[in-house]
């Protein structure tokens, strides 16, 4: 909720935000969903990437450089392959976190059905208006997606650093 309000203030009340909104048209639009999700979930993504790269021995790159690689090639040839599964796991969990966002999206992008109402918002709107079956349907769909995400995460050797 706070993140959504902060975004609204930024894009409506600051000079830079207003210019950006004129350019990108993000407030109460589908693009706003992406901005709100990115704003909230990017911190999780950065944390996951950091945890992955922190686990890689920095001497691998030093040895690669002593064998003739430049700094970028040492990173790309040695560290990136070692980080691959960690990065995949991190990205999947970040995507799952973004998919479950509710309040910031409702505040910043709105809750127009079939336009800016994402799955959690749709479940809430259906529940509020007495459409229990629809709310339960969306909820089941989200549970299945969450189960799938967790399975892929574990398959990729996830370390459980997101909870």
């Amino acid at each position: 909720m706070i993140a959504g309000i902060s975004l609204l203030v930024f894009f409506n009340q600051t000079a830079l935000g207003v210019k950006l909104n004129d350019l990108l048209d993000v407030v109460y639009t589908r693009r706003g969903i992406v901005v709100a999700q990115f704003f909230v979930a990017s911190a999780f993504c950065i944390r996951a990437l950091k945890a992955t790269f922190d686990q890689i021995n920095p001497r691998f790159e030093m040895v690669a450089r002593s064998l003739g690689c430049g700094p970028f090639r040492a990173f790309w040839s040695v560290s990136m392959p070692l980080a691959k599964t960690g990065l995949m796991a991190g990205w999947i969990m970040t995507w799952a976190r973004a998919m479950g966002e509710f309040a910031p999206i409702m505040v910043f992008a709105g809750a127009t059905p079939f336009h800016t109402a994402v799955l959690p918002v749709t479940a809430f709107l259906n529940l509020s208006s007495g459409h229990i079956e629809a709310a339960v349907g969306v909820t089941v769909l989200m549970i299945v997606l969450a189960g799938l995400t967790l399975s892929i995460f574990k398959k990729l050797g996830g370390q459980g650093y997101l909870w």
């Binding site: 001497r59 002593s66 064998l67 090639r73």
Partner: protein, 363 residues
């Protein structure tokens, strides 16, 4: 093969300060950098490798100043303490990594990998992954990977720290053999004396960021230039000197030490008497022991003393015998186990201690 030289090399890393290091390693030499933990050994070789840039001073390979050159441009092979084998690659791909980076042809890669795996006896490991290797196998693979690109200089950071004693002895011999075979200049970090004596052509002692002494192993161990080096190399008989009285024949001097309880006759024929010596150093393996008979009369000027055994410790092939004279001077001797039966060494046993005047080093 390359000569390595550092001139006034100074580097500060946080609280640690490596100060004005002047090092000279001859081409084709196996140089061992010795020092206690935290002395700066790893920082120094990482600085020579190009991983840290010094605040001042220079690094030369032959006569080329490489101080500002990047790590990958220096032509250096580097084996870190943990070997840093790439865990997602097989042994073969680890060894071939540097060659493929240099775009060597498949035949060249195969030939060089075979050459090195034959030399290091690791041909049966080619398809294995590093996680499945023992410490000794990892060490050989890391060495093969570093040698594959024919480096001018090989830097080994405690390469034998993670292997057991018997493997270490075997690997020391092999390391020396490989160095002779390839002719590469080696700088090898260690804190193990047996390892050092087994492989070193020359030795440097580093302490608190200062290079205290460099020279041939026998110079550093038998003629240390400071009390720290003497203590660090386990010259256990170190006595503070009170007075030195040169003998009229100029071949010997009489030294009173250990609060004047100890009189030593020192050989000065080779002219090594320092101007104002502060310590007399006698290595424990140079202290001779023999059975003392009750009627023994010892003249102190002959560097012979009667002492009682206080402690006997088994050190494998040697016994460490700690003794004390009646006036309290403590002597430590290292005696081959084969002689211990003749000496009947046990606590309280009376023994005669003999020192050659040429085995006393003054500093």
């Amino acid at each position: 093969m390359v000569t390595v030289r550092t001139e006034n090399l100074t580097i500060r890393l946080g609280e640690f300060h490596l100060q004005r290091i002047n090092l000279h390693v001859q081409a084709g030499e196996h140089f061992v950098l010795l020092g206690p933990t935290g002395a700066g050994k790893t920082v120094l070789i990482e600085c020579i490798a190009g991983m840290h840039h010094p605040q001042s001073g220079n690094v030369f390979l032959d006569d080329e100043d490489v101080t500002t050159k990047r790590l990958e441009e220096r032509g250096i092979g580097y084996v870190p303490q943990d070997y840093a084998l790439f865990p997602n690659m097989t042994v073969e791909n680890n060894i071939a990594f540097g060659l493929r980076i240099r775009k060597a042809s498949a035949e060249e890669v195969a030939q060089r990998v075979k050459e090195l795996t034959d030399l290091l006896h690791i041909d049966s490991l080619l398809q294995r992954y590093p996680l499945t290797l023992s410490g000794g196998e990892k060490q050989r693979v890391a060495l093969a990977r570093a040698l594959a690109v024919r480096p001018r200089l090989l830097l080994l950071d405690e390469p034998l720290a993670a292997v057991d004693e018997s493997t270490r002895d075997r690997l020391c011999g092999e390391l020396k053999e490989i160095q002779r075979h390839t002719g590469v200049t080696v700088i090898h970090v260690s804190h193990n004396f047996e390892e050092t004596l087994a492989v070193a052509d020359s030795v440097g002692i580093l302490h608190n960021g200062h290079l205290l002494h460099t020279g041939k192993p026998e110079d550093v161990f038998y003629r240390p230039q400071s009390r720290f080096v003497a203590e660090f190399t386990r010259a256990e008989n170190i006595f503070a000197i009170d007075t030195v009285e040169p003998h009229p024949d100029a071949r010997t001097a009489v030294v009173l030490a250990d609060e004047e309880r100890l009189q030593l006759s020192v050989d000065t024929a080779n002219g090594e008497l320092p101007p104002s010596p502060t310590c007399a150093v006698i290595r424990p393996e140079r202290v001779r022991l023999k059975m003392s008979s009750p009627e023994s009369e010892i003249a102190p000027s002959n560097n012979c003393f009667v002492a009682r055994v206080r402690e006997v410790t088994n050190k494998g092939a040697l016994l460490r015998v700690e003794t004390a004279t009646d006036d309290g001077t403590r002597w430590v001797a290292l005696v081959p186990v084969s002689l211990s039966a003749d000496l009947l060494l046990q606590r309280g046993q009376s023994v005669e201690i003999g020192i050659d005047s040429s085995d006393i080093h003054l500093l």
